[in-house]
């Protein structure tokens, strides 16, 4: 992993905290997906927790990179956010139709 220039202690602490938070959200989301009872709650958990987790990880990483890389990372986050939303909606609709049919 490439490491940028020197960082201050505060920045390091802050970025580590953000990274850890992101990781926590990811883990929470994954556990939820495995443990939650039905599709809707799973979807809910996964999309929200993962979007948030990714956001905080990217925020944590931003301390290490230059502005151009940061911009790209933000763009990636936005894309994931949007596509996560759309796919979550799609899946929910699919579940709904299936439920209605049954």
């Amino acid at each position: 992993m490439s490491v940028g220039g020197e960082l201050s202690v505060i920045s390091t602490l802050l970025s580590s905290a953000l990274l850890l938070t992101g990781l926590l959200f990811f883990i929470a989301g994954s556990v939820a997906m495995l443990r939650f009872p039905d599709s809707y709650s799973r979807l809910h958990a996964v999309t929200k927790a993962d979007s948030l987790g990714l956001g905080s990880i990217i925020a944590g990483l931003m301390f290490y990179c230059n502005w151009w890389q940061n911009l790209l990372m933000l763009l990636i986050w936005l894309l994931v956010l949007a596509s996560g939303t759309v796919s979550c909606q799609l899946l929910a609709r699919f579940c709904k139709t299936k439920q209605d049919q049954a």
Partner: protein, 319 residues
Amino acid sequence: MSLLLFDVLLCGLLLALALASVLSRQLSHAVILYIAFGLLMALTWARLAAPDLALAEAAIGAGLTGALCFTALARQGKLAASPTLSWQQRCWPALFVLVTLFGLLLLVLQLPAKPGPLPALVMQQLAASGVSHPVTAVLLNFRSWDTLLELLVLLLALLGTLQVAPAPVYQSSWVLSRSWSQLLAPLIIVLAGYLLWAGAHQPGGAFQAGALLAAGAVVLKLNHQLNWLAWRNIWVRFFAIAGLTVFVAAVLTAWLLSGALAEPVWLRWPPELAKYIILLIEIFATLAIAITLTLLVVAEQPATPLSLARQEDDEAADG
């Protein structure tokens, strides 16, 4: 040390996912686990100094194969639970595989640690190849015959798939996903163009770009956009074979250009033109790969008599 830890973790996860995919109870789980495995594999390759391949694996290996597997699952209709196997059915193959594994381990650990002569040779000849990225040089100049055949394999898979493809099923698409896919499309085109252009000197190239384009096209196609993108359209057919056509045309041209020589050499690009020829081939190959991959995923029966499905369905309806 930390890198080694990372490696151990990576390898452990890879093995666990692969094993889980093979052993899982349900097919859909197997497919999901396989996709995860593919993504991790991409990461592994990035770790192993192969960013080209990481890109390709992420797009083709994990993404495309996963999509294909899911399509197949969906087309297969209702899934029966996997038949349970008795332990003899599992145990004896396992024993056999363990023995094989032992032998394989013995073998791969015997491989010499020093590389062969070819990397140095590639570097030595790179200047004459017309591109500065060695992988692209190998793909499109040193071993271009392999690449030509590989394009052919891809085309062939498409032909075979079209032959057995089912009749199209019409479903309504949802406004939000449609507009989202339309929003994504230009982004993907730009990205693909970048990858293609980058291939000349850094990781990237026709396959990665083609795969990316295909991903975009598949999304659009699933949202009932791009209705013209079907085998029955002659222009689609034309571009699907364009990669090969341009390749062959370039080969022939190069051959004729050097025809004055006593012994014309097959597949040799004139050094001063090599760069342009390779770029031309790559552009058309990207298009062809994109179209082919798209059609592979959303394969539906074409109107041309290439497919047997319709006539058979008619027969089935009669009977």
